[in-house]
Amino acid sequence: MTLRNLAIVIALLALVALPYWMPGIYYINVGSQILFYAIFALGLNVLVGYAGLVSLGHAGLFGISAYATGYMLQLGFGHPMAIVTALIIGIISTAIFAVLSLRSSGIGFIMITLALGQILWGLAYRWISLTGGDNGINVPARPVLFGYSLGNAVTFYYTTLVVFLLVLLVMAVFVRSPFGAALMGTRDQPRRMNALGYHVLAIRFWACLFSGLLTSVSAILFVYYTQFISPQTLSLTSSAEVLLMVISGGPGTLLGPIMGAGLVVVVKTVVSGFIERWNFLLGAIFVAIVILMPEGIVPGSARLWRLATRKRKGGTTS
């Protein structure tokens, strides 16, 4: 077994056994948060890492699916109906988002997504009859799955873990697929992809939809976790936070956004209990990452590891 496969098996075992070695319910819930934020970050990574399109409005899409779930449940529909509707609305919203924002790339794309995200945030605040305004929407209860209530922290964690592993598998297949390679081609050389016979805009559009699907999945898990959704979820800070997860972990990698989600969630939830100025700490960590590993934690650590092993080998031979 290679070192890489061994690491994957250990990580999987650690995740599966997490409720048994974590000191309490609070930390199991932190684990759930890391997992669904990791799905969100993986979704954004499709655009940022693989398509080279930096979105600052993804919290808006996240919020739409979360509100859709909450609203459907408030109207009295069942959980399956609420989830399916949230996914459909999420994908339709992403399609509209994509049609408007893909007219541009680079700074233009960032500005359009930022503006769209802010419009949705404003709507969530002001369209009180639909969103409840600042009071938000409460989700009455978590669903019961195969006789197990997701109201239980451990059951919710395992459900999130199963969804997370499925998303990870889909992402791994996506990255290695011809479509994944074509998407990376549009990131590196869109003009060349044109000359190879690809419709760059169409590829980017499908990538947006895939990103939107993962965003919706994470939003549904989020709204069931918090059992509450308010305009704060759609704010620019939320969009920046998930972008920070992707960039700090390593865009264009599978593991990077997961590491980034772990870092941000732990600092935000656990460290903030001990340090009042946790925002300062998060900023300092981000600055350190940018200086020491500008490519992100995962590719940066791999580079430093290679450098260290090469030096050690060099020292041994000399």
């Binding site: 050389q189 060349r192 000359a195």
Partner: protein, 243 residues
């Protein structure tokens, strides 16, 4: 009856206000190789960009197998069986060798060339370029210049083209690698592919091309065949500054 694989007729093209191509016309016959020669800035690469749809001509027409493709997008022209090996390779540096080839894979279009040849696959490209097979999982950015050129050619072939446009494939390569690349181009010609070979070095082109077009300051200065041109030192000196 012989058909034209690609033709430019009366093409005028501009970069902004710069009139780069002025009334350029030439024809590439099916299963033939046309050498496009000229000094730096003569308009050779611009001709390739116009033929591929990367630059729209303001006047004139471009046709592929008799069908007008003037003003068509690059993907529409690629769909008609035209592929470009660009100057400077322009491979996808962050993708592996295999992924670079996988990205370009397309089914052959319904053409005479496609009907008489097995389609290109990753395996057949690796057979043609064994060095790429050895480095299939390596990032393209880590390949040597010669290997990158082979990858650029292999990537164009993966689109199963009927017309191949090659923009200075020998640029920046060591003489031994240039010989390898030229041997590959010869094989492709023998396979019946219609090829336009853009070069600054006329010696390379004279050995393989059926027809020669020399561009000078954006205009067709000479259209002839290699045998006749080899005898005409004055013309070569005037337009290419050699011999």
């Amino acid at each position: 009856m012989a058909t034209d694989a690609l033709s430019l007729s009366g093409v005028h093209a501009y970069y902004g206000d710069s009139h780069v191509l002025q009334d350029v016309s030439f024809t590439l016959g099916e299963a033939r190789m046309l050498g496009l020669l000229g000094r730096n800035g003569a308009g050779k690469s611009t001709c390739m960009n116009v033929a591929m749809g990367l630059l729209a001509p303001r006047r004139g027409a471009v046709s592929v197998f008799g069908q007008d493709v003037s003003g068509c997008s690059p993907e529409q022209i690629a769909a008609r069986g035209v592929a470009l090996v660009p100057q400077g390779r322009r491979i996808f540096r962050s993708l592996s060798v295999r992924e670079n080839l996988m990205v370009a894979a397309k089914k052959p279009i319904d053409s005479k060339h496609a009907a008489s040849h097995a389609p290109w696959t990753i395996d057949t490209v690796f057979t043609m370029f064994p060095r790429l097979a050895e480095r299939r999982d390596q990032m393209a950015a880590h390949l040597s210049g010669g290997e990158q050129q082979m990858l650029a050619i292999g990537r164009a072939l993966m689109g199963n083209p009927s017309v191949l446009l090659m923009d200075e494939p020998s640029e920046g390569l060591a003489p031994q690698i240039v010989a390898e690349v030229m041997a590959t181009i010869r094989k492709l010609k023998e396979s019946g592919l219609s090829i336009i070979l853009v070069e600054q070095n006329p010696q390379l082109v004279f050995d393989v091309a059926d027809d020669i077009v020399i561009l000078n300051t954006g205009q067709v200065a000479v259209a002839s065949n290699p045998a006749a041109l080899k005898q005409n030192d004055a013309v070569l000196r005037q337009h290419l500054g050699v011999f």
